[in-house]
Assembly symmetry: C2
Homo-oligomer: 363 residues x 2
């Protein structure tokens, strides 16, 4: 399989997952947790599912040095050189740029998929089919490809992609990217059949993305182009360069830096049971319910007059609840949260309040 040997995967796993606080913590964010009770964490599941499409040695993890121990513990089969540590958080464009320059130094013909580490895919065979079709496409076209998820509800938390003319198979030109819509607009999007959710999963040839960055985000591209010849072929020189240069990058998303500006942007419509597990409600929706429509993560529960709740506990614990409807009850590492699901957007603020008032240990 000559072709497969030029395929790479970049798994981004530096996020802190504060929307699942206190179950997900700065010390052990969401991607390092076995949220579905399968025995594999979200990162491990992301790794497992890409192995059919990409050789193991072509997988690169991008994370924060704080999580070095977790990544090595959860993916012991990786070489140290496959794990890149960002010295600062600079959103996705600098992170993807580094990965592109890193991979291009090893294999100038490489194509790559970039994927978050904390999403769920329930139909892995369909995922592999879509990813393989995507690789085939970006290897034969000058294309920046994003995977678009057919929407199932008028979600206001995602960006949408409007699909243009069909190119081949499930792949089309992108007409527009849109910001998160309000509910009315989201309903229009859903009814039109033309709008797909932006999954944050991308495929492209390394030269195509480097070129696109040079044109549309020259500040970031210039940082990596400024590296002396051979920098990215040597672990020590690369690390030294990145530790100095990376913090100087703009903090900007790849959508804003490139995808919304470039002309050669395509979308592949995919159907593989995707869920970004972005909120407690998403986890609730995805999880099996008991007969009172409650969801339980790792705990014994006795409920009275209580429905529609999600209970998540780290450590052995009995939860006894009366008179709660549609709440999150999460207990881990010295923090208990009791909060209506409808107020989950405020959890980030609560984390911040807790840090200000009681210190970093509760982050």
């Amino acid at each position: 399989m000559e072709k497969k040997n030029h395929r790479y995967c970049v798994i981004m796993c530096g996020g802190i997952g504060s929307r699942f606080w206190p179950y997900s913590r700065a010390e052990r964010p969401k991607q390092f947790i076995d949220f579905l009770g399968t025995g594999r964490t979200l990162l491990q599941m992301s790794y497992d599912r890409i192995l059919e499409a990409v050789p193991k040695e072509n997988i690169v993890i991008l994370t924060n040095s704080r999580y070095a121990g977790l990544v090595k513990e959860q993916l012991p089969e990786l070489e140290d050189s496959q794990i890149l540590f960002e010295p600062a958080r600079r959103n996705t464009a600098p992170c993807i740029a580094w990965a592109a320059w890193h991979i291009a130094a090893r294999d100038p013909q490489a194509s790559m998929i970039v994927t978050p580490s904390d999403h769920v895919v329930t139909r892995e065979a369909d995922f592999i089919r879509s990813v393989t079709d995507g690789f085939d496409f970006v290897e034969t076209h000058d294309a920046l490809l994003t995977l678009g998820i057919e929407p199932s509800r008028p979600e206001t938390g995602y960006g949408y992609i409007q699909v243009g003319e069909d190119v081949c198979g499930e792949i089309s030109k992108v007409k527009t990217f849109t910001e998160k819509p309000d509910l009315e607009l989201a309903k229009v999007f859903l009814a039109s059949g033309e709008f797909f959710w932006n999954s944050g999963i991308f495929l492209w040839n390394v030269q195509a993305i480097r070129e696109a960055l040079r044109v549309h985000c020259p500040d970031v591209a210039a940082v990596f182009d400024s590296a002396p010849e051979g920098t990215f072929n040597n672990f020590a020189s690369e690390t030294e360069f990145i530790n100095t240069a990376f913090p100087g990058c703009l903090s900007i998303s790849i959508d804003y830096a490139v995808m919304e500006k470039a002309k050669n942007v395509y979308v592949e419509k995919v159907h593989f049971g995707w869920n970004d597990l972005g909120t407690w409600s998403a986890l609730y929706d995805l999880s099996p319910k008991n007969r009172d429509a409650n969801v339980t993560q790792n705990c014994s529960v006795l409920t009275y007059n209580s429905t529609g709740n999600i209970f998540a506990v780290r450590g052995e614990k009995l939860i006894v609840v009366d008179g709660l409807k549609d709440y999150i009850v999460a207990d881990a590492d010295g923090v208990l949260l009791v909060c209506p699901k409808s107020r989950e957007q405020d959890i980030k603020r609560m984390v911040n309040d807790a840090r200000v008032k009681f210190g970093d240990k509760y982050e």
Copy 2:
């Protein structure tokens, strides 16, 4: 102080305090907890406050052998012989009978006060004045005296005492004892001014209570009268006798066995800031509130849209709560309870459900 040397105090502390579960547990019930955050547990406070009225060596603790360690740890100044272990739970009449026979063997002239170990008294000087007046009365009258609390609300959880003709000072004949009334009746009681709460604190001469037991509860009295001469003067023989005979006693309360039947029953109207701390709501009422009318026991709390709650945690923990009104949130030793205060009468059932479903460790 010849008179004081004949005064004894029996502190009953064998209860398991399940109404404060999971904060109060079978392994460490309510009376062994520093509920008011004063640095002294309820048992220690009960002991401390009686010391003005009774010599230290005349204090007797009646408890269960399961709590031997806790009693000795919390009251290290007591001799082993001052702690009596009931081999079985038989309600208050057999317990008080044993104490009376025990004390009478040591001092046939003794008078005694019997008090629970888990009530709160906020005005200790008034308490001592009332207790001293009570001792003076039972030492000069053939009287069984109970302390009556002036009611402040139409409480349906207590028995009431209807006061008859005045005898001296705050002491009157008892007209009737009543069972727990319904709310309508409790309101009538409150408005009448004739009804007082039955505090469960009693004073009498040891011969008077023994005689009353022989007349009104001969089954129980006969158990203790059957002891060979000298049994209660020797620790080993007493223990052996009790371990055999005590479990054979009827399980019956002193109210039902004696107080509701005897003719020589008196009530002393007292005003010393009494609270039986019988429920989470009682603890809530007694505790200082923050500006959102929430009460906190041993925990850091961040609240949003939440008022009227009581938060009680054993161990260091941050509680973050949104959208709870008038709830109990209690977390201790592997159990979390979230329950409306209005449903606190059901906590006993929850404890039972937890035991049936998940085992004794959660009791």
